[in-house]
């Protein structure tokens, strides 16, 4: 198993903030919008250097999406930012009509996604956003795995013409990808080549998958780990190539098992190559208050759960 180490832990939202800082200097068309959550979205550096390209919207997310759509008519590249719950579910129809259907170049950038938002609880812990966003025709959906990748993805989406949903999170997690990586939208990242089972992970679950890969290796199981940072468009080729070799799959996501990465992968498998697949995801429930670590444990989203799922998948393959 390829060795992954880290020297520090950082939050992916800070990676977003760092990416925005770079974009502020590089791309004069980039405009940032926020709905009373500037600190949470780590926008301070961008605002400091580009005060007139920052738009404080107040607690008015629906208006923020509409204004963003309007800003594109005039060549701006709006980055509309808030917590993932308020960036998606709260404003679904505004995104659907004014952004997706109208094909506007709006970047919806969503922090505090998933259970790892922690103590605020279920009202704020969206576990359905990937599903909602990927169902919109023309929407690109990205869920990077660490600080560096989130920074790279933030910079990359400015150059991509069309609506994008960029999802990231609150807690600090290991920084294990390259600082100078170039982010390629829609191109899955091979984390570790293996032969026994394919683990497709996204977001915070990629690090868990690496931990799981090491545990599996210790038990003589050789896992292939692929970071699906782009949920849509999905890198079907990478998925099919991997399962052709391994013959079974595990998907891992901080999301409801309905409608997320797992279902996207399942669709590819059903259509092209039927192999056993196991889901590591929230089992169709809401979250609750707790520390991020407690919640990931309780809702079955740890390396241990990926290991168990991998063994089940292999067992089904061999049955």
């Amino acid at each position: 198993m390829k060795k992954y180490t880290f020297t520090e832990k950082k939050d992916t939202r800070s990676g977003f903030g760092a990416g925005m800082h770079v974009l502020g200097q590089q791309n004069p068309n980039v405009v940032a919008l926020c709905a009373d959550l500037v600190g949470s979205l780590k926008l301070e550096a961008f605002i400091k250097e580009n005060p007139d390209r920052f738009v404080q919207c107040g607690i008015s997310e629906a208006n923020m999406i509409g204004v963003s759509a309007g800003l594109t008519i005039g060549g701006k590249i709006p980055f509309a930012t808030t917590f993932a719950n308020f960036a998606t579910g709260r404003v679904y129809d505004q995104i659907r009509q004014s952004v997706a259907y109208s094909n506007k170049n709006v970047k919806i950038c969503a922090s505090h996604a998933g259970l790892t938002l922690g103590e605020d609880g279920a009202t704020h812990q969206i576990l359905e956003d990937l599903g909602m966003m990927k169902m919109l025709p023309g929407m690109t959906v990205i869920n990077p795995c660490d600080y560096n990748q989130t920074k790279a993805a933030t910079i990359a989406i400015a150059d991509h013409e069309g609506p994008v949903y960029l999802r990231f999170g609150r807690p600090v997690i290991p920084v294990f990808t390259d600082a100078d990586q170039v982010f390629e939208i829609g191109k899955a990242w091979m984390v570790n080549e293996g032969t026994d089972v394919s683990i497709f992970a996204t977001g915070h679950m990629v690090w868990e998958a690496i931990q799981a890969g090491e545990q599996l290796e210790a038990e003589g199981i050789n896992a292939e780990i692929i970071n699906i940072h782009t949920i849509k468009p999905l890198d079907e080729e990478a998925i099919l190539k991997s399962v052709s070799k391994t013959g079974c799959a595990v998907t891992a996501e901080e999301h409801n098992r309905l409608g997320g990465l797992g279902d996207s992968v399942a669709q590819v498998l059903v259509k092209n190559k039927l192999v056993p697949q196991e889901y590591v995801a929230v089992n169709d429930s809401f979250g609750e208050s707790g520390t991020p670590a407690q919640l990931m444990e309780k809702y079955g989203l740890t390396a241990k759960d990926i290991v168990a799922a991998a063994k089940r998948a292999i067992e089904r393959k061999n049955a």
């Binding site: 009373d36 959550l37 008015s60 609880g121 208050s289 919640l295």
Partner: protein, 285 residues
């Protein structure tokens, strides 16, 4: 209840707020402290609540009793403390606030069946609509009791608030008393700077509401008086709006007067300093 008694309850509620937020190192002390008089006056003086043997008996429909909705759900600590002291659930449960497997979720929820809560809140801007619905249900049920709802001033920036603001006068929902916590603060700074609400009183009047102002929202006597005044105007075809001027963080000197304590937990030292300013009157949980 005498004003002095209500003030004693308020002091204990404030202790509970800072202790709860400290206990889990998260949550929202600022707005909670600022709204303490409002919630204490409502539950211990103003609202009629169904009781048996001196304890509230909670049922979801709340027929024949007054109802309260907290739209700015992030100030859950003040509500939880008031509900606990009123006897809805054991005070000890406050120690579980925001912790795993608790009924005292970060934001109020019905999902864990906590007595006293009738709808989830936390995603801002939705509470007044629900309160209006409950008020309409009371009218349909020929139930003459009142529905109360509290919102934040930053929360007024949500569009849904203004959909509700149009609806209530149009449908003559005159068994509703809505309140706004006018503390002038929200997360990113003073409300004036983040998104100027301008004259909320004039806005609600223009929408067809009867508007009352409580200038001293942290003065128990003033709050009680304002609530009675509001009550006296019910039943005349218009919903009532009370603009309550409060101080975010009121009662703890270093938490007052800015948005900094909107959603930050005190450390051990700060907790001790805060508790030193708040008399323990009903016993800590």
């Amino acid at each position: 209840m005498e004003i002095e008694q209500l003030e004693k309850v308020a002091s204990q509620v404030r202790r509970d707020i800072v202790r709860m937020v400290h206990g889990c190192q998260s949550g929202h002390p600022g707005g909670s402290l600022g709204c303490t008089e409002i919630l204490v006056a409502l539950y211990f003086e103003q609202m009629k609540i169904k009781e048996e043997n001196g304890k509230p008996v909670f049922d979801m429909n709340g027929e024949g009793e007054d109802l309260f909705f907290l739209s700015n759900g992030h100030i859950s600590p003040v509500w939880y403390s008031v509900l606990a002291h009123k006897g809805y659930f054991p005070k000890e449960e406050m120690a579980t606030f925001r912790k795993l497997n608790s009924r005292l979720q970060g934001h109020p929820t019905t999902h864990e069946h906590l007595e006293g809560i009738r709808i989830a809140s936390g995603s801002l801007g939705q509470g007044m609509s629900a309160a209006i619905g409950a008020a309409l249900a009371k009218k349909l049920n020929k139930d003459t009791r009142t529905v109360f709802v509290l919102m934040g001033d930053g929360e007024q920036q949500e569009g849904q608030v203004w959909e509700a603001a149009s609806f209530a006068p149009h449908h003559e929902v005159d068994n509703l008393i809505a309140m706004i916590d006018l503390n002038g603060q929200q997360i990113d700074g003073p409300t004036l700077k983040v998104m100027n609400n301008r004259d909320l009183g004039k806005k609600y009047e223009a929408f067809g509401w009867e508007v009352i102002t409580i200038e001293e929202g942290n003065d128990m006597a003033a709050v009680v008086k304002g609530l009675y005044e509001a009550k006296s105007r019910l039943g005349h075809g218009r919903p009532i709006m009370i603009l309550v001027h409060t101080g975010m963080g009121f009662g703890v000197d270093f938490m007052m007067g800015s948005h900094k304590w909107h959603g930050v937990a005190p450390n051990d030292e700060q907790l001790a300093a805060a508790l030193g300013q708040l008399e323990e009157t009903l016993g800590d949980y």
